[in-house]
Amino acid sequence: MTGTLAGRTALITGAARGIGAAIATRMAAEGAHVALCDLDAEGARATLARIEHDGGKGIVQEADVSDADAAKAVVAQAAERLGGLDILVNNAATGARAKIRDYTLEDWDRVLAVNLRAPFVLSQAALDHLARSGAGAIVNICSVAVIGFFGQIAYDASKGGLLSLTRALAVELGRSGIRANAVCPGFVDTAMAEHGNLREIAAKQTATQPIARIGRPEEIANAVCWLASEEARYVTGQALFVDGGWVRA
């Protein structure tokens, strides 16, 4: 670790487990002070304990970011407790698996509220803090589903929307010194992979991709950290596929 984020502050949603926890861990290892936001406060506290054990610093924020008021409060409190906000990582996401014919409007609204509305609300609330940073960065965790075949209509639509949101943020906020980028993970080894037959599907899928294994959460975190760092100072509006070559090769 090289301290590429030394002195920075970062808010990561969905940080209790999986990709979000890996992002918070790597950012803390790079010197950032991190706010771990999650519905699961206990899980977030456990992740923070591991970060602190390794010498990192952070706070836990229990919130449902699909609630706009709660999301705004998360940003305000993170900025206050960390002393500003340089990096926002919109990682929290949810899904619902059903055929289009059977998809309920309740599921559609819930998925869109978490995956698309919350990143907008959080980004809007964070604007002034990120602009004050002088090196503000938003990283949105999308999915290979932006290519459009993951088989969950609301999830696919929300991630496609999140990529367009990312590009709009990049174009409009560039002059404020804020960069916005997306990371599109392929199959990653997280608790989500335990759902249903996902692990079996992942094993079959990854066998036929150039990097023939399931991705590690740390590999997503590495890409997020790079995009958030000064090394990527001229990169904005980019969709970085971290998928072992699944959809592009």
């Binding site: 090289t2 174009v171 560039g174 991709q209 150039p210 990527a232 509006g237 090769a249």
Partner: protein, 283 residues
């Protein structure tokens, strides 16, 4: 010093140019032994000597990538000298501004020979050495945002760069079994000798105005992306094309425009500035 590329060997084509030289400095600074290959042997040696003066491990090689024998010879010599090849930045390229109606066949052919066939030769030769070495590797191709965003007067350049993006994707698919990752970087307009003439015609102000991050790209911006793709932090990334363009592409840039309402009288001008384009060359 942070040296994540310690013990790695890198070869950079077009290594004497702005982006090539900045990348040589970046990779060598991270611990790699670097071979700077360039058609201009004197310039390549100057870049290598400057970096050696800074204590970095950099050698020069003369190579015109349109000649398969020269490509073979330089790669073989690099592998013999260093015992391995881990990273190849296929960076050399060539470009010229021409209206499509007036584009000479020689100019078209030169774009194809340097940008497409030359890059193919470089990548195939690098990949063969990496596959034979058995340690995997990382190939990075210097494409352009012109590969995905059309730019009037750049038909040959954009077409050859678009072809490179697809070459990268198919190479990534075929080389995965050898542990070789293949990715592209797509710079926006970057301040180098190649773009100097255009930028001095007023394009610098246009790029600044149209680019969300408000400035023209610097070679170091691209070098940083290449270093990321060369190193282990990108271990799960292959077949991808990475924009390093300050957000310009998604702002839908148009550098040269014409008033399409005037049928049969196409006059290309730099957008906003209304600067007439006098002649081709230099882009």
């Amino acid at each position: 010093m942070h040296t994540p590329l310690r013990d790695r060997v890198a070869l950079i084509t077009g290594g004497a140019g702005g982006i090539g030289a900045a990348t040589a400095r970046k990779l060598a600074g991270q611990g790699a032994a670097v071979v700077v290959a360039d058609r201009d042997a004197v310039a390549a040696e100057r870049v290598a000597a400057d970096l050696r003066d800074e204590g970095l491990d950099v050698r020069a090689a003369a190579m015109d990538q349109t000649d398969p024998e020269q490509v073979e010879r330089v790669f073989t010599a690099a592998v013999e000298a260093h015992g391995r090849l881990d990273i190849c930045f296929a960076n050399a390229g060539w470009g010229r501004v021409d209206a499509f109606l007036d584009l000479p066949l020689d100019t078209w052919n030169r774009h194809v020979a340097v940008n497409l066939t030359g890059t193919f030769l470089v990548c195939q030769t690098a990949a063969r050495h990496m596959a034979e070495g058995g340690r995997g590797g990382s190939i990075i191709v210097n494409s352009s945002n012109g590969a995905i965003a059309p730019a009037a007067l750049f038909s040959a350049y954009c077409a050859t760069k678009a072809a490179l993006n697809m070459l990268v994707q198919v190479m990534a698919g075929e080389l995965g079994g050898h542990g070789v990752r293949v990715n592209a970087v797509m710079p926006g307009v970057t301040a180098t000798a190649m773009t100097k003439d255009l930028l001095e015609q007023g394009m610098d102000r246009l790029i600044e105005a149209q680019t969300p991050l408000g400035r023209v790209g610097r070679p170091e911006d691209v070098a940083a992306a290449v270093a990321f793709l060369a190193g282990d932090d990108s271990s799960y990334i292959t077949g991808a094309a990475h924009l390093v363009d300050g957000g310009a592409t998604h702002n839908v840039p148009r550098w040269f425009t014409t008033d399409y309402r005037r049928r049969g009288r196409t006059e290309w001008r730099l957008r906003h500035l209304e600067t007439p384009i006098t002649e081709g060359g230099g882009a």
